[in-house]
Subunit: 301 residues, 2 copies
């Protein structure tokens, strides 16, 4: 099982998987894939405007050696071509370059050249927080706005596959709420109860679902004990399911900006992970995200 | 203006305000009020079962000197008596002892002996986060489950009064969302837009309301600049309005458990602040919370 980003990056060194970068004419993305290529993690296939890619690389002194370039000036077409590479088995992972996420996701969801698999695409973020002995998964902080219980079940399944790929065979999934008791006025607690039951009935498999729990009692055994919570999985969360996008987004950003935690993220639920780093991400986060996607893709293959 | 908890506690040393503790027969609460009394912040009036209060104090070697005791074994009655002390002007602040928050709030909302003022009672948490040059207010992480825009306006007003009491005459209130653009599928962004307009029309006064902004662009000027956000108040938030209780609760606890931030909290919107520390709070948090409530009460008087 992988317990840290250091171990994660190490685990995919020399994996040599193919990453198709959609609309690759972007300095920051080129820097990230160059670093990943230098570590042997990926063989990049850059889909985009070739002249621009070459001029950006030259300007920043980024070597393009070992990288394939597919010249495509149109951004929609570049996304479709990058996704189709994965669809056809010619790449393992797709990564967003300088294009809106919605454009690449449209290609991912295309019935002919796309990568549809789960009924729900969701975002999984991985965090390494100081003082924690394991990586924490947060889902969904970026894709699903206000998922119903059905969508939450898919979001859990999507995240569980990531945990499995990282060697955690039975992750603890905690449905985060503001309280520990089911309260009909709080939909998140009702959904938590239902998701726990579905897990007990085997309808959500490969993990142990618990909740409702507030964050302190989800991640701290000491806090849970102090509060007299008897759930044996309290304090042991691996995957933290948030009730709505705002809760996840605020959580994600508080860990990044206030707890200074290391992180990685990607979109899952398609046949291959989609790496969607943002400009605000550090170089480290971008490398971690590529490593995470490759670990998941390698586990699938 | 008060920029840190150190300054906050300093500002109320020797304030000598009266704090009525409801159901005071609790070791942790007695430790906290003793410490606050020793600093001259409060004169405690302990309402509860006198024999138990004395035996707990004796066992823990806590001196009760300078503290008044009102013997009342019944918890509901003890809450009502403590609240009535504030109602009658015989105390400045009420603090919850070993009783459910709902019981004390029922007394606070009582038409005869209570402390009704704003149409909405809300929770305000104050955080000192490493790397930040100011205290951050989070509201509402503990009381209002899913406030509508009307309730959010009251929640803002309640928090703004706290900021004023701490010398921040025009706090920046940021309506936290997952995105920066108004999106009809995201109620939080619609509410943010409406609250900004109400502030511009002067219906929400004493502050500058902005948003929708995600947390990074709310608190980091660098992040906002990086993302090309033109709102001059981006990155400068004092008060962070969360869209619903789970977002606030997760945020609050991520700051406490993961960012190891110092904090204080209380319920506002009544004629006097209500201190509702929990057993999980550190001694420091309890003292900070008493100091915060006293600063607010002293500003009112």
């Amino acid at each position: 099982m992988i317990y840290s980003f250091h171990e994660l990056v190490d685990s995919v060194k020399n994996a040599g998987r193919r990453i198709a970068v959609a609309v690759a004419q972007d300095a920051e993305v080129l820097i990230a894939v160059r670093k990943a290529a230098d570590l042997g993690i990926v063989h990049p296939i850059l889909v985009g405007e070739e002249a621009q890619i070459k001029s950006i690389a030259a300007e920043l002194n980024i070597s393009l050696s070992g990288m394939e370039i597919i010249n495509e000036a149109d951004k929609v077409e570049a996304c479709r071509k990058a996704v189709k590479l994965v669809h056809d088995g010619d790449a393992d992972v797709v990564m967003k370059g300088i294009v809106d996420t919605s454009v690449i996701l449209k290609a991912v969801l295309d019935k002919d050249i796309g990568l549809r698999e789960s009924p729900v695409l969701s975002h999984v973020a991985l965090f390494g927080v100081e003082g924690f002995d394991r990586l924490l998964y947060i889902t969904d902080a970026a894709m699903c706005i206000a998922p119903d219980v059905e969508q939450k079940a898919h979001i859990i399944n999507n995240a569980v596959k990531v945990a499995h790929a990282l060697g955690n065979e039975n992750p603890i999934v905690t449905c985060l709420c503001a309280v520990e008791k089911v309260n009909p006025k709080m939909q998140a607690t009702l959904d938590a109860q239902e998701l726990v039951e579905r897990n007990k009935r085997g309808e959500i498999a490969g993990c142990t679902v618990c909740g409702p729990l507030a964050l302190d009692n989800a991640v701290s055994e000491e806090a849970a004990k102090h509060k007299g919570i008897t759930d044996p999985n309290a304090g042991k969360a691996d995957i933290l399911l948030v009730p709505y996008i705002e809760a996840g987004n605020i959580f994600y950003k508080s860990l990044t900006y206030m707890a200074k935690a290391q992180n990685a993220g990607m979109i899952v639920g398609a046949k291959a992970p989609v790496v969607v780093t943002s400009r605000a991400d550090s170089d480290e986060t971008k490398l971690n995200s590529i490593a995470l996607a490759i670990a998941v893709a390698a586990n699938k293959a």
